[in-house]
Symmetry: C2
Subunit: 548 residues, 2 copies
């Protein structure tokens, strides 16, 4: 079975809203996009687009027959009903992987999955708005950009960023740093991983030699030129060596797979082959060595912080293991969410994405141009668009992602609709986002960790987000459980809206692209973030109990 | 503070949709309705209508200013936002008590509640459509009526029903049996409880003497006359005595507080005073005696079943404790949900209720008359309406409840709207339901226990229910967690719609009173109930993968 979204103007559904759903579902399973299309798996381990082939086919044929005033309901990847609603309603409503909390663990989940009763939807897999790896690059870019904004003069020119791990996620780091005009030193114990990144132009150079690496880095930084260097080595050795040499990078973080002390992280003073052997022979010893290496690794990071570096944890749980192994002040440097993501969430900023349904890359060129015209003052955004259009290869239908805030999203959505209406692009544009957004996720180990008021586990917010978006013009809306951090640990909602050039789409876009990021502002106002309060007041977001 | 819904035609909001919300919120807290209005507690232990007084006041003032194209969002009893939506959207969207599953336990809940971040919403407490105890009476009536339908000729004339426990819930049993024209023997160890029921006309007679009780019962049954008798005694003694006497009632159940072996159930051969003392002195021994009495109690029920009685468990967990104490076949008789409630859920039947916003009891008289006119063939319904109008004292705004199915609800809703439009009632009518309904609850220990396909814990359904109702014209929609069975054990959704006599209301009623019970049919089709499949086919419910 080969999945591929149809391109062009001709549609096989009764309207563009439905056709958009159909194309995005097929695009999610396109072999350029999906990890294992033959199993309907899109990304994130086992995140699926439909429960099984039979359900997939039923979704497709239901979409083709769906009237413009009907709504299809999808329960964990299976179409279960079609109801008459009205034209402005979403064409599809989705609930994936939700379990009554006392049964919300992986064992119960797999048991129900085996019975054919549910499906793991991850975030954008089961809600049909995944666009490939561009999202990771953009998220990483945004994190470094925000760090630059908070600590330097808005970009990383002349700054050296030290990090480690260039695997699936971490591999975006070297490029994300150079896109911010900085110099990256990315340590990875696995030479092959670095080579792959050099081959795909995500990393500029590779070396085994620390001295060589440092001299390249210094030279580039002095000249103010962007450069990324993959240094083959173990972070638990390299970071302490830098301390010994008295070298303090400007920014320090880490994306080794420290969350997994046995299968992921490689202890110091060991070849990859030795590590492989010890894992099998003596897993307990391996874990012990792994965690004590993490302790050294984190100690070095703390030392660099002491000496003035900007240090943050990149969500791999390394602080926790270091603490377990005696580093009492491991949590002295912050996680990336409270440090760099949350301040943006306070302004309703988050990962906004769009897709050209025509299939023509020129449509995305048009939108790129428009974004730059509309927000010329946002240097960070302009830089991203320029770099992305040069560096990012499309997977499946051409798409773009960037972070935008409350106010900006609605403005851009309406402008896209105008592009479509005036024929400046060759087909409608689908606008969506990750479930990981400002007002749509409750995930106490990641996105809502350490909320100011302690409301990390309150899950009313994603539900309110889904409800308000459903009545505000979204084309499809989804509520999921367990994305990102696994069953039991998160609840979140997705939203997609189609700019098809009609007046109705105009109303949809204006309303839902206000309520959706609006929920981000509201959620952070409620948690007591002054930045959100200021933003709400400035933009006139109506909050009944707002205290100024 | 005194809470009382305004009556009459004059409104203080910008439309009847908003005014209806306001009146129902105030009505929930009316001292005739609420258990502890001063703490904002409506019912069900700690089920609240608003987070605190400040939030309550903010809700009221927000409602008064809410435009006809705006929607207020309420997060666990606190108003957090107002967004511009459109006229057909709900005026209020509510999410109460939701927690990320791994934190969904009472400890975490109370901790967050103490911080002022959440509220326990129960079912209709936090969604403003509680109407007092009429609902319990009706639910009990419906259970016995369904038993009569399945096993006898549609009512209980000439049949003797044996039960026990006439407390808060169980006290509805004697009246529910006589409303079905049967003879009830209701055993309770506490004389006072029976006396209270006699005083409020829920029970006809009281006796301490088993022989007397039996002769009254036999006489009434022979004459085919309804009669309810409260027998003072311990069920764990009386039930076995009946076996010894060779007496087999037609129907046998039990609503003693067996779910609580220490604080609730009273062991055999003990006065209430002795029980009270032993509870304190030696709780372990008390529990032991309690559970072994339950074993005897259940053994007697099983024996009666063997001899031909219709026996069922009424949701008090007595089978579980009996099994623990050696009664291996305790689960040989069914629970009331799979036996009598689920067959109705398959047809989209469930607890439909309405309230006269005028405050005039005559409006309910009008609606009672109309219901009887519209469904003359439903003898069960007619009987209920007649008995209810005679026996039920209104609490707060006049209201009525009855069970109606898919198709019937929309039909009646439209007829109510016509009554309002034509001035046959003095004000709009609010239509809602319990969250315990056919397509709106996932609660594996109660409403969704023992689903045919094992899907008890799948919680996609209540979310889909809330989403589709939100876009189908509901006036307010709510999603809750933990109602009925406590935090961690259920997820459920509520729906209310206002018949204000307008054309828009007509569209709202027709659409949402179709989608809402429609979800019940769909959910049970998906679980493999043939009855639901037949109903879906008969009524043309659109189900993409329906296998006939
Ligand atoms: N919080 C978030 O949103 C977020 C986002 C991205 C990644 N992460 C975390 O970041 C980590 C990396 O994710 P990934 O998908 O890139 O993992 P991955 O397994 O694909 O890559 C990890 C890389 O680390 C290298 N490595 C392991 N031990 C090392 C050591 N001691 N020194 C140097 N290199 C070492 C490996 O060779 C590998 O290339 C994970 O822990 C992940 O959970 C979190
Ligand atoms: N599944 C459901 O939807 C559902 C509905 C209603 C009630 N219930 C269950 O039914 C039970 C009763 O609820 P309630 O609110 O009426 O409780 P309650 O505590 O108000 O009343 C229980 C009554 O049982 C009597 N009793 C206790 N032990 C007895 C014994 N051995 N013999 C005779 N009488 C005895 C008490 O004196 C009391 O009057 C509870 O377990 C409740 O959970 C379940």
């Amino acid at each position: 079975m080969e999945f591929k979204a149809p391109r062009g103007q001709e549609i096989s559904c009764k309207g563009w809203q439905q056709e958009a759903v159909l194309r995005m579902l097929l695009n999610n399973l396109d072999s350029e996009v999906a990890e294992k299309p033959e199993e309907l798996i899109v990304y994130g381990g086992t995140g699926k687009a439909a429960r099984n082939l039979e359900s997939f086919e039923a979704i497709v044929s239901t979409l083709k027959n769906l009237e413009n005033d009907e709504t299809m309901l999808v329960q964990s990847g299976k179409p279960v009903a079609v109801f008459k609603t009205h034209t402005f309603a979403p064409r599809v409503l989705i609930a994936n992987s939700l379990l009554v909390p006392a049964w919300a663990d992986w064992d119960s989940f797999w048991d129900l999955e085996k019975k054919g009763l549910t499906m793991y939807g991850q975030m954008t897999a089961g809600s049909w708005i995944y666009i490939g790896t561009q999202g990771i690059l953009q998220g990483t870019y945004e994190t470094f950009a925000e760090a630059a904004k908070q600590h330097f003069s808005n970009d990383l020119t002349g700054k050296i960023v030290l990090t480690a791990g260039v695997g699936g996620m971490g591999g975006a780091q070297p490029l994300a740093v150079t896109m911010n005009n900085g110099v990256a030193i990315a340590v990875d114990v696995d030479e092959e991983r670095i080579k792959r990144r050099v081959n795909t132009r995500y990393c500029d150079k590779i070396t085994h030699d620390l001295e060589e690496c440092l001299s390249w880095a210094r030279e580039a930084a002095d000249k103010g030129e962007p450069l990324s260097i993959g240094l083959v080595g173990n972070a638990a050795e390299i970071y302490p060596q830098l301390i010994e040499k008295g070298i303090t990078p400007d920014v320090v973080t880490d994306q080794t797979s420290a969350h997994d002390p046995l299968g992921g992280y490689v202890p110091a003073n060991m070849t990859l082959k030795e590590a492989e052997e010890l894992r099998k022979k003596d897993p307990e010893k391996y874990i012990h060595l792994s965690k004590s290496s993490m302790a050294d690794h984190v100690k070095a990071m703390l030392k660099m912080q002491e000496k003035g570096a900007v240090v943050f944890d990149y969500g791999n749980n390394i602080r926790q293991f270091a603490k377990e192994y005696g580093v009492k002040n491991a949590f002295d440097f912050p996680g990336f969410v409270p440090a760099y993501i949350r301040p943006q969430f306070c302004e309703g900023r988050g990962p906004f994405r769009w897709v050209a349904l025509s299939g023509d890359p020129k449509d995305i060129e048009e939108t790129d141009k428009l974004v730059k015209e509309m927000f010329p003052e946002q240097e960070r955004l302009t830089r991203w668009i320029d770099m992305a259009s040069e560096m990012v290869e499309f997977q499946g239908l051409p798409s773009r992602i960037c972070w935008l805030g409350y106010g900006e999203r609605a403005k851009l959505g309406l402008a896209f609709n105008k592009l479509v209406k005036e024929g400046k692009v060759k087909g409608p544009i689908v606008i969506g986002r990750d479930h990981l957004d400002c007002g749509s996720v409750a995930s106490p180990n990641r996105e809502t960790e350490g909320m100011k008021d302690g409301s990390d586990a309150i899950a009313d917010w994603p539900i309110l987000n889904a409800l308000i978006n459903s009545v505000s013009g979204a084309s499809w809306v989804s509520v999921h459980h367990g994305g990102g951090v696994g069953i039991g640990y998160s609840m979140h909602a997705g939203m997609v809206v189609v700019a098809d050039g009609t007046e109705e789409a105009e109303k949809r876009l204006e309303t839902v692209l206000t309520t959706d990021p609006g929920m981000g502002v509201v959620r952070h106002v409620d948690a007591g973030y002054q930045k959100a309060v200021d933003h709400a007041i400035k933009h006139g977001v109506k909050i009944p109990m707002l205290k100024k």
